[in-house]
Symmetry: C5
Subunit: 361 residues, 5 copies
């Protein structure tokens, strides 16, 4: 099952900004960091190439626009080197190492750091949230995603194809990365939507005890998604509103589109939550319907057969006073046996008619 | 069943503003685009005529007020042509092609683009939301609805009848279209209201297992409606508040009426939601009532007949020690059989009295 | 049952401000309009007299303060005449004809139009909301209530009695009418409160299946009331806040009292809603309690009599190998029959003790 | 049971500010008014003495600081006299007579009137809300509580003891009275808290049908409390914020403490509401648990004894063809009777094992 | 069980700022106060040493930065001494003594007092909230925690290790203490999260009646946590926003990190609440499932065996007219006994097939 809350924190009281390397097993899970650098020279994007950490360009120097993408979990040393070169604040470095941050926008001395969560479904169908850190300072835009997931494959392809025209300014590039990151949620939500519709069919037609477990799992994922997506909306909104000097009016207009998408995503998640709540009601009612059905079957059977069994029990009694005229004379009647059958038929048919009248079946 | 969420999106990372033609089957469903143009010359509206896309007037040129209505899904090429001529921004073009947008107001370089959802019930009773895009720029007001539905039949009739007087300015015309679009929701909501009242009757009188399914379907539609209507209210409010230069004070006053209508629509949807929640409670309680009723019937039957069956069982036993005075002497009593009947009558009547006292029936 | 939503609307796309006469049957229900006029001359209110529509005074002329009260549904022609004379905007006229408006404050060129809903219980105990329109412009204050209900009987009595002093200015008169209209809700809410307390008693003591239906009806009415009362509060608040030139500081102080009353009314409705929610919980629990009670009765009866019936069944068997010592020798024992009674008594008493221990009765 | 809503209102349309004497029975319940006056001369508080209404000091005259405390319901005449002397506005007088007001702050020409509700539990454990009116104008601070409850015993004791130092200014005195009034809620809430914990114990251990009734009563009281306490918080907040000239900065600082207390009280009430909601869930679940338990007992008993009763029924049949080898030959077997016992034991043990496997007991 | 609400208050009407010593038993529970002082001389932190209350430094004097940590409950006399020396306002002293305060920020004449609640789990697994008071005025930063818990062990260790560099200014030190206090919540919430996951497993797999009790306990703790954590967020936010002169921009940046942590903590608590709500639904549904299962088992058994018992009952009847051809001739048939077995087999198999068709097992 999806782990609901994953965050590494250091003991309370530790000096903030302290970097600790991950335990080996965790590092293995997330993979070592790869540093990918794309440089824009003479109005064109060059090839994306893998570099060693020591080759990270310095933000302070004048130079062409660079996009540094760090894929996988860097060591504390690599992070510190990265921080030194591009000017990433120690608090932001700490957030990358710890993971599980709330989406947020921070500004450290002119540099902008955006932290986002990217939802992704793994091969087993569980939902994970991967933390993406975007940095913009000077001529450098950096993106760090300390996990296996690479959300920017499509962006790199675009840079290569339309190298000359696209994403030529830092704010433009940042917008492009944000857009790709936010749009990553759509197919995930689509998958969730499909699971909701499947579950809905199942609940309406033939719910079983595992249905509820899956519905609960779904709600759990929606709780997690919602928890990360609410602040995402705030993040984009904040970028839209208050950083007048960082984005050109043109980029801002395109950013509005990103904002619309985050709102759409939130709307979807809220609608899904409403849907699952309504589905739970349906599930509980169908349980209640089934109980009613069993109960009625039982009541009908019992109401018909209990009086009959009582009647046949009567004539199984052994009263036998030799001379008493009251010692079960029916037993000796010529039409006794057919008579008791008639009586039983009358009782049974009466019951059935009564149930029919009450619309029990 | 109504598809809850319909939106075409392109893969994350695709350059925004990319236009893709729809798949053939989808295009067939929505029908090819028809371009209707009405031109206001010398203070009168001319005939509405169908034109070819190439004849779309240019917004940049001075000219009479034009209303261009695009009915059905245009191809990417047609859209681009439209965009070029009237000045519709690529992002807005993309929204038209993708559909499923949240209602919103956007301004692109002086032009105003309003996106709305129009609810409509199809022949099978399912609810759909059709996206309407309104554009106002220069002397051109354009409306694009990429679906079968045409919400402006009545408006065109009015133009024809009262050609000289009505809707003579761009903002006035835009108001007229908005008004028609928003009022489109009333008969739809009326239909929903009727279905609610029918379901209510059914739930109070003779609910069955399909009732719940329909109640769930209703809630689903209300969730969908609410999701699209909330932002509609914001859209009209935004138009009312912050675009001082686009609307004359007079039009603004009439717009307040549109705003009141959207608020009324929202109120209705919220009341409907409250109603369906209350109806679910009634449904669950009536289920519970029925269970109680079955249970009581069963308990009464069992409580009366179990002791009786036990009694007749006793006298079916075969104890027969020849000389023992304890070998079921009752069987040989003169009044034995009537006695056992008396006993059983006493037990049965006692039970009935006891149930009466407890007000069980 | 109370019709939840009543509003006449014309087809979408009709020119706004279009007035249509009501259908005959509806007009019959609401009664024809009566025009009552009171004129304040020389610091005293004159008699209230019924006038013909043509005698409605003109707002534009200087003259004494007039209060025009229109009772019953005016025809479109009468409304237009009224609009012309006192300066009532066509949109406001349309709202009067259509009915079912949300409470609101509108200002049309200096004139103030307040739309309110007045709750009233009819003879059959159903709740209705009647629309009241108040108009203040120049020296004329007009009130239109297109229904049978007359909320201003008491106000007219007061004018007559204290003619010289009371309500001498337009804003003062408007305040007086608002106050009377808002206070109209208190006895209605009191009636609702009494019904809630009756239902509460019923639910705690002897709920039956009609109880729930009535609880649902109550919730339905509260949903309706709330939907109309929320905006009423906004309306009064708006009057208090932003129309500096329309009310004197003194009237404003008295208006605060009206505002307090609307808030109290809202508080009551919200508390009633909380109460009904809690009552539903109690109802459901008492259903559940009853089910438990039936179930226990059944279980106790079955648990006691099933083993006993089994025992007597045993000795009704006919095993009879002539020489076998195992052919039900008990049947031939001297103490056989008393023995089986002892066994059954032990079983029955054991069960009773076990149930007592488990506190089942 | 606590009456939920108590308010006397006059018929809609009555002139506002009309004072009506209470009915005799009600007046008897609340007791006649006593007027207590304390005067601060030469920097010391004098004795608190009972005065006749005619001796109420005038606010307009210069004079020492006076605290007038009215305990019990004054007649309309006494109230008017009070209003005249100290300058209490007719609307405020009306509020005192009518009772049941929402907490509020009003300013009438420089005088400040604060209306509060003080919760109190009577001898039978029901909760009541008593209305307290505080007035500050000129050198007079007045407090009116038209009920039996006297919340200021402790304050008077303090004045006597620390006469020289304490509460020497009007605003200071008002603060002291507010503080005493707000703190009055703590022991009441403590009592409610204890009842919640008792009910919790009862629900977890041995709920019966009266438990729910008491839980409902508790929720009812919390609804009432909440309805009065929300506006109390607003009242104190309003005093803190916008009356710059009435309170010295020092008093303001102490007032913050009162505000903190109202917030704490609200927090408690909200937590109590959450608790009762959770307790209802527990109650319903425990009902459901008991039903399950009964059901299982019944099912186990029926599943074991029904087959056994069937088996013994078989051998009670009287098939007796004299020569047929199929006429129940078992009855004549040597080991027949022990055999049938063995069969029944196998069936019974099999059932028990099956239930054990399914963890039913 | 965790006591939900713990607060000592004095009787309403007591002069505010009155200090009362705790009862002996309570004092014993919290331990006597220890006064720890650290002094920063020449840019380095000295050793932390325990001092007597009389040695508390005066805030008014110029001097090196001091950190005074009071651990355990001081007596009223010690508190007054502390107040005098460092300038702690009597209201703040009272709050320390009373405990159970809502988190808040107060400013008394330039000094800043922050009150927080620190959650901690005791050895028995119950959650407690300990009140921490932080004071900053002049060169003195004081922290008072009147309980056994010491949240600053780690901070003292850090001062010792990195004595020269760290926390050199009052605002910096205050930030460090706040950071340590807020981060204290993470391991506690982690523990809660683990208990939630355990409970979840239990509910999905084998819920019993104690499960609900524990779920209720969990909700109770979350209610308590939430009640204290909401205002904590406000507190940090207030510190961030409006005290421009107290914090340097640099410290403010680090404080943002603390704010993020409080928001994360709140998010967690809210998610936990959503989770427990969903878990309750699952619990109730699984109860309902079990009931269904029992019911079906019972219905199947009864439906199969009741008709069979009826049939065997028939042939236990003693009709025996010597010459009547209707006196149960079946009993004398050659194939009678096998015939009745065949009939019973047909009935039983028919029932089983019917249940199979209805998918009952």
């Amino acid at each position: 099952m999806t782990r609901l809350f994953q965050k590494h924190y250091h003991p309370a009281g530790t000096a903030p900004g302290t970097l600790r390397n991950l335990s080996l097993e965790q590092a293995a899970l997330q993979g070592p960091a790869t540093f990918l650098l794309a440089r824009r020279d003479a109005g064109r994007w060059g090839e994306v190439e893998e570099i060693v950490p020591e080759a990270i360009p310095c933000a302070s120097e004048e130079g062409p626009l660079c996009w540094l993408h760090v894929q996988g979990m860097p060591t504390a040393e690599e992070l510190e080197l990265l921080g030194e070169r591009v000017g990433l604040h120690p608090l932001a470095q700490e957030d990358i190492l710890n993971g599980g941050q709330r989406p947020k926008v921070e500004r450290f001395e002119g540099a902008l750091v955006v932290t986002l969560g990217i939802p992704e479904v793994d091969d087993e169908g569980s939902l994970h949230l991967f933390q993406l850190t975007l940095f913009m300072g000077g001529n450098i835009v950096a993106s760090v995603i300390a996990e296996m997931l690479d959300p920017f494959v499509e962006v790199r392809r675009r840079l290569k194809e339309r190298g000359g025209r696209a994403l030529g300014e830092p704010d433009d590039l940042l917008y492009g990365l944000l857009d790709a990151a936010v749009d990553h949620a759509f197919p995930v939500l689509d998958g969730v939507g499909e699971r909701i519709e499947e579950l809905e069919m199942e609940i309406l037609n033939h719910p079983d005890s595992s249905t509820l477990e899956r519905l609960h799992g779904l709600k759990r994922e929606l709780i997690m998604l919602r928890r990360y997506l609410w602040p995402t909306r705030e993040v984009i909104n904040q970028l839209l509103r208050d950083h007048d000097d960082l984005f050109t009016p043109d980029t801002r207009m395109w950013m509005r589109d990103v904002y619309d998408h985050t709102v759409q995503v939130m709307d979807l998640v809220e609608s899904y939550r409403d849907m699952t709540a309504s589905m739970l009601d349906v599930y509980l009612s169908s349980m209640s319907n089934r109980l009613n059905e069993s109960m009625r079957t039982l009541t009908i059977i019992a109401t018909i057969f209990m009086p009959l069994t009582f009647i046949v029990g009567i004539y199984g009694m052994n009263f036998s006073h030799p001379t008493s005229p009251f010692a079960m004379p029916e037993l000796g009647w010529y039409w006794g046996y057919p008579g008791v059958w008639t009586l039983m038929a009358v009782v049974a048919i009466g019951m059935v008619v009564w149930f029919k009248r009450k619309r029990w079946f």
